[in-house]
Symmetry: C2
Subunit: 410 residues, 2 copies
Amino acid sequence: MTTTDYEAVPAVEADAAAPHLDTVVMKFGGTSVADPDKLKSVARRLVAARESGSRVVAVLSAMGSTTDDLLDLARRVSDRPEPRELDMLISVGERISCALAAMAIHDLGHEAISLTGSQAGIVTDRVHGKAKIVDVRARRIHEALDHDRIVLVAGFQGVSADSLDVTTLGRGGSDTTAVALAAALGAHVCEVYTDVDGVYSADPRLVPTARKLDVLSYEEMLEMASSGARVMATRSIEVARSQNVRLHVRSTFSDAEGTWIREEDGTMLEKALISGVMHQREETVYRVEGATPARLFDALATASVNVDTIVRTGAEVVFSAPVEDRADAARALDALGVEWSARDDLGKVALVGAGMKSHPGVAAKTFATLEAAGIEAPVVSTSPIKIACHIPTADVGRAVQALHEAFELE
Amino acid sequence: MTTTDYEAVPAVEADAAAPHLDTVVMKFGGTSVADPDKLKSVARRLVAARESGSRVVAVLSAMGSTTDDLLDLARRVSDRPEPRELDMLISVGERISCALAAMAIHDLGHEAISLTGSQAGIVTDRVHGKAKIVDVRARRIHEALDHDRIVLVAGFQGVSADSLDVTTLGRGGSDTTAVALAAALGAHVCEVYTDVDGVYSADPRLVPTARKLDVLSYEEMLEMASSGARVMATRSIEVARSQNVRLHVRSTFSDAEGTWIREEDGTMLEKALISGVMHQREETVYRVEGATPARLFDALATASVNVDTIVRTGAEVVFSAPVEDRADAARALDALGVEWSARDDLGKVALVGAGMKSHPGVAAKTFATLEAAGIEAPVVSTSPIKIACHIPTADVGRAVQALHEAFELE
């Protein structure tokens, strides 16, 4: 089960009632804008898209290590930085990228304008550091597009509806900004640029024979993202699914087609049983006794812990969550007064595929493959299109290779 | 004559009709917040002011070389960065300082909130890079002060009234932010913290016997600032004078009294003939023929050139302006189609003193002193409280020492 936050983004704004079929939202991550030369090459790509006739909205992340450098500054000033001020601080990174990209576009002879999350109308709640988008008020973007400008929007940030404070969206925030904008603007596609050329059947660094996938359903991409595929954040895929935003994950460094992510339809019926094997090297696994699941997961949600897998057998509840959420989870569990323990030595492998629904036996083959490799899986969970096994971190690489081979994904 | 921009700041806002006599605005420059340790020490000073009973508003500059680093990034992306985007870029430096200082204050057990120029209600015109403040809408500051918070305002920036774009105020922008806020909030004093402990009768590095001045009139400080005293920007003193904001220039690193700047009154009647000798190592001196002064200075104002001295003899107009404005001035003069030339080898010495008004002979003594030192002054200008001489840059040090001694300022 995935408890990814659903973000309530209105389908399309009133003033965008006639969808602009030629609008494209292009999202570039930190490695794509890491230095002035890379920024200039992003600018050239945006200009090329504009010259091909599209209305172009780009969402940029902060340059390379900018955000980490700012976090480091904060730590040198305070052991536990005030969340509102931390958001004020770390939101500057994306603004820097966008202002620089706009300058580079001007030099190429095109009009461009950079907008902060606030100026772009990304309205959020007040949960600093993990804010959720509650509305997109894209008036300024529409105006700029109507004036033939390329619009650069600072990703990962917004403004809180009531207090007008700068907020940040947390992990995968720029992806979420891009998808929410694509939905609000009625864009025909949200292109997600990354340093790989699409989504693969397994990590090519682990499995050299891994295959690039041409098309995936939202459900598959969701399961893959929550199982370790790092190309997009889970929450942003949730928004894409709920708003029916077509995604195209592709390479910053080539013009080749990447992986399309869209609604499952007729053309996908004969798709493969299994699309891919995802993995995650580390995830914290908690065991809790003495709390009802309702009370437990309410407390964890309040503490903004991104719970992934949940398994329950009798009085005990087992769940997993990202390593980064360890401190928040511990505080929430202590406050509940429950008995709990956590393991930090586990990772996860997951088989994902829409074709799995109609084929029993996938689970059996998965367990047999792991057993043959001598790998123990103390926690197992399934969904209609996924089987996930928590296994020792040390065995993750071998497990991915064995499963990729067993299911003939080459 | 000084053509420093006058900035129209309303005396006090409607919602601040009853002036808060206990409000203090404290401004810290880039060297005062250069690293996390210095920021923490600024935080301690702000907390001490709050604990002494004052409502505290602090205006911070960017940390050390932050703004220069950002400008360097811009230059690596574009030869001539778009002004709107440059403002978006370089305004982040002050936000970083303010967010970090707010964190440090929280750690000291006090409430604090950082505000961008826009959030603080600093409303400007649209001249990117050299914007002028047209209004201060201090609602959020009042609210925060009413909630017992220390308010940190990002200096040097605002938001344009019509386009809602981020603007920067140019040279001395943080000083202007501080003075405009002090006026709008009815603060009883605007404290300007710097790395020297006040205003001196001459630069102590040039004249070891230079004396710290206890009190100056706005007019004297204006003449001093436009003649090379670097403790405060001329335009900010203009605003202070027009709004009657009492200034206190003092050291970041001690609690000693610095120099007060306020309206001339009875207690200042018997003040010294000359308060100090200011200097500037470099200033560009232009000679122009073929334009009426009205047309000439209108064009220079439009090009945002900060004209300092103006001297006219017959058909020729001579004026000086900061070295940084060279390119803007050249463009404006070329566009006018006038004949012009410029000298880059001159600096300036200036004697300033309110007592000078009623004492003829100061000019004679000044020229005699320079002549005895063998220093030629090709351009001379005077005001009721100032005599300024443009002299070769190479002679500036000797001229300051000779004049300081001749007028017995030790």
